[in-house]
């Protein structure tokens, strides 16, 4: 087999893995959009915030240490304890639920019945706010996140492919774990949405707010729940990306990676987010591999967007999105 093809296959598999991570972020968007019609730009910053909080709790950092030191002239930084990973994740989840409640209480309750685009802009404001809060709370330096996930090259796959192609594929263990987690997460979400009482209520709200209200579903509760779920997804995404490349500002930019995934898959479809993520992941890695060197590289920055844009011209609602019906 020619070398180029084998390399291409390796790129393909790595693209799939990257796609899973994109899909993970996109999932958070879809959840909120379906249930409340809010296109949550802050999802990426939520992932960053969750990862920052997780690291901060694990390391025993004093929240707002920077600010306190500046105001009172003190020199405090750490409590001096270390919290084990699992407990820290649980505590972070509590913080994310509190955040979900606050976001609903202080922002979106006041914006009911506003146009979708106003809500979208509000989430951009929220993204800025949260980014600032995260930085002030935990400091803006790059942090290492280690909750005990395996990392590095996967031995068996390397050996297996070496035996077949005479060339070992480089597949990261972390990516495999991420794929597994994402698959479990999607299955859990689908089961939750299909079979649990709250899940059904969530779907009812997604269908029609007023009808849902009239059969006695509390919109407030559902919205807080959905934002908490999105916070949970953000936490998972934050752990994966944070372990992979450190917890830093660029983590929040994965939201920008997830947007074309959503456009491709459709804003309202969970399977769409997965399939879109895989297409984008594989597409951009293969494009960079095949065409990138000819045009100066770094095509990953825009390829996903242009692909989604061209695709939308032919199918404006995305792959699995609900058909857009316009009435006067």
């Amino acid at each position: 087999m020619p070398e180029q093809l084998i390399w291409g296959m390796e790129v393909f598999f790595n693209g799939l893995m990257a796609g899973v991570l994109y899909a993970l972020v996109a999932l958070g968007f879809v959840l909120i959009f379906k249930a409340s019609g809010i296109f949550n730009y802050a999802q990426g910053v939520m992932a960053l915030f969750a990862a920052l909080t997780l690291v901060g709790i694990m390391e025993g950092q004093v929240p707002f240490a920077h600010l306190i030191n500046a105001i009172f002239g003190t020199e405090i930084h750490h409590f001096g304890w270390h919290v084990p990973g699992l407990l820290a994740i649980l505590l972070t989840m509590v913080v994310m639920i509190a955040l979900a409640w606050a976001v609903n209480q202080f922002i979106f309750r006041h914006l009911v019945n506003q146009e979708p685009i106003i809500l979208f802009m509000a989430t951009i404001g929220l993204a800025y706010f949260l980014e600032g809060v995260g930085d002030i709370m935990w400091g803006s330096d790059i942090k290492k996140l280690d909750v005990g996930l395996p990392q590095g090259i996967n031995g068996p796959i390397d050996e297996l492919t070496y035996n077949i192609f005479n060339y070992g594929f480089f597949i990261d263990n972390l990516d495999l774990v991420a794929t597994l987690v994402a698959a479990l997460l999607v299955i859990a979400l689908v089961i939750f949405a299909q079979y649990s009482k709250q899940g059904r209520a969530m779907r009812a709200v997604a269908d029609d707010h007023q009808a849902a209200l009239s059969v006695g579903i509390s919109l407030n509760f559902i919205w807080v729940m959905v934002w908490s779920l999105a916070g949970f997804v953000a936490l998972v995404a934050g752990i994966m990306w944070g372990t992979k490349s450190g917890v830093q500002f660029s983590l929040s930019l994965i939201a920008l990676k997830a947007l074309p995934v959503l456009m491709l898959g459709g804003f309202t479809s969970i399977p769409g987010a997965i399939v879109g993520g895989l297409i984008i992941g594989v597409g951009e890695k293969l494009f960079e591999f095949a065409v990138g060197p000819m045009v100066g590289g770094a095509t990953e920055n825009w390829f996903a967007y242009v692909l989604a844009l061209l695709f939308l011209v032919f199918r404006p609602q995305g792959l699995f999105g609900e058909k857009i019906i316009e009435r006067v």
Binding site: F39, H66, L67, A70, I107, H110, L111, Q114, P116, I117, I118, F120, M121, A122, I124, G125, L126, A127, Y128, F129, L130, E131, G132, V133, D135, I136, S140, L256, L259, P260, L262, M263, F267, V295, G296, G297, A298, T299, N301, W302, Y305, V306, A308, L309, L312, V313, P316, G318, I324, E326, V328
Partner: protein, 358 residues
């Protein structure tokens, strides 16, 4: 007491349909122009021009451009930074290719080129609407920035990948390059800002502006009453991009002088201009100025209070700024979705009755 329309009789349709029908407004406008042209140039120094006046004027043009697209025509764009980059690089290529032509013409031509690119990226808006379009404009943002970063022709194969504005003069006075006097740069930008604001104001209250607003309010209904959505949307993209391109050209040539595209015209710039439009007021020319002034002054004031007065570290103040800007956006959307311009309108209504409450 002073702000009255009583006794201000109009005897012709022209007088009745002028931009500022109330006498007091008109005189205030003339006063602002006179102060801007005849007073400020004599008293400003480098710090004032570079910290406040140039960014304010240039962002005002960009905000007017985005306001036409988003506020008047209802098409949300997140690609402003990319279009500003087009203006900057078009201006740079023109300046270096035709050194003998006036810089004013280059800046306007750069706007024209940006308008063309804007129409190109506006084409999908006929099929794609709402969020999908907002996200689709991000394609323009990322693709254009990448293009200017990676294709050496655009930056004339310079080793650093930066573009530097060569010295160009207007009436013998340098307005670009390191030798520029503060007042010259200020006046050059002011003339263009006033020019752009006049055009925008008169476009938006004419037939074209009404078509845009019809499309914004409901595109299908607009189509039924005879507005051609193709022409309306594309003209909005073209006009908007023209202004944004002029702003980009000025931002590069007059304000910064040297530009690295990813840094100067990244996605944060797109959001910054969008915030100006939201805080200032969607669908208002005055709002564009108010929003630009607000977001230009905010960091300056914060730095003055936080760093110089309280002695806090710079990075802490920068983070606080993020929080304040984010909170303000949300607050404005909740309390006053029409922004500073609406507050101004309400204040004027109150002034008309003052000091009598009814």
């Amino acid at each position: 007491m002073l702000y009255r329309e009583a006794g201000d009789f109009k005897t012709s349709y022209v007088a009745d349909s002028q931009t500022f029908p109330i006498k007091f407004d008109r005189y205030r406008y003339y006063a602002v122009l006179i102060i801007g042209f005849a007073f400020i140039p004599f008293v400003i120094n480098d710090y004032w021009v570079n910290a406040i006046f140039l960014p304010f004027l240039i962002y005002s043009i960009a905000a007017i451009g985005l306001n036409i697209l988003t506020g008047y025509c209802g098409q949300v764009s997140l690609g402003t930074g990319g279009f500003m980059a087009v203006g900057a690089y078009a201006c740079y290529k023109l300046m270096t290719a035709f050194p003998e032509v006036s810089i004013l013409i280059h800046v306007l031509l750069a706007g024209g080129i940006t308008a063309g690119v804007g129409v190109l990226f506006g084409l999908p808006s006929l099929r794609i609407k709402g969020f999908y379009l907002a996200v689709a404009t991000l394609a323009a943002q990322f693709f254009l920035v990448w293009l200017f970063n990676r294709v050496p022709w655009f930056y004339n194969y310079s080793a650093s990948g930066q573009i530097n504005a060569p010295e160009r003069t207007m009436f013998g006075v340098p307005v670009t390059g390191p030798e520029t006097a503060a007042w010259a740069a200020y006046l050059f930008c002011l003339v263009l800002t006033v020019f752009c604001a006049l055009i925008a104001r008169n476009l938006t209250r004419g037939m074209m502006g009404r078509k845009w607003m019809a499309i914004r309010d409901m595109d299908i209904a607009a189509e039924i009453i005879g507005v051609n959505p193709l022409m309306a949307k594309l003209s909005a993209f073209a006009v908007s991009s023209f202004f944004v391109g002029v702003a980009g050209a000025l931002f590069f040539a007059v304000y910064l002088g040297a530009v690295e595209v990813g840094e100067a015209f990244g996605i944060t710039k797109s959001f910054l201009v969008l915030f100006m439009v939201i805080i200032g007021g969607l669908g208002s020319i005055f709002g564009s100025f108010a929003g630009a002034a607000f977001l230009v002054l905010l960091p300056v004031v914060l730095k003055l209070v936080g760093v110089d007065l309280l002695g806090w570290p710079t990075d802490l103040v920068a983070h606080l700024q993020l929080i304040i800007v984010g909170a303000l956006i949300v607050l404005f959307l909740i309390v006053e979705p029409h922004g500073l311009a609406q507050l101004w309108r309400v204040a004027k209504e109150k002034l008309r009755l003052w000091p009598f409450p009814h």
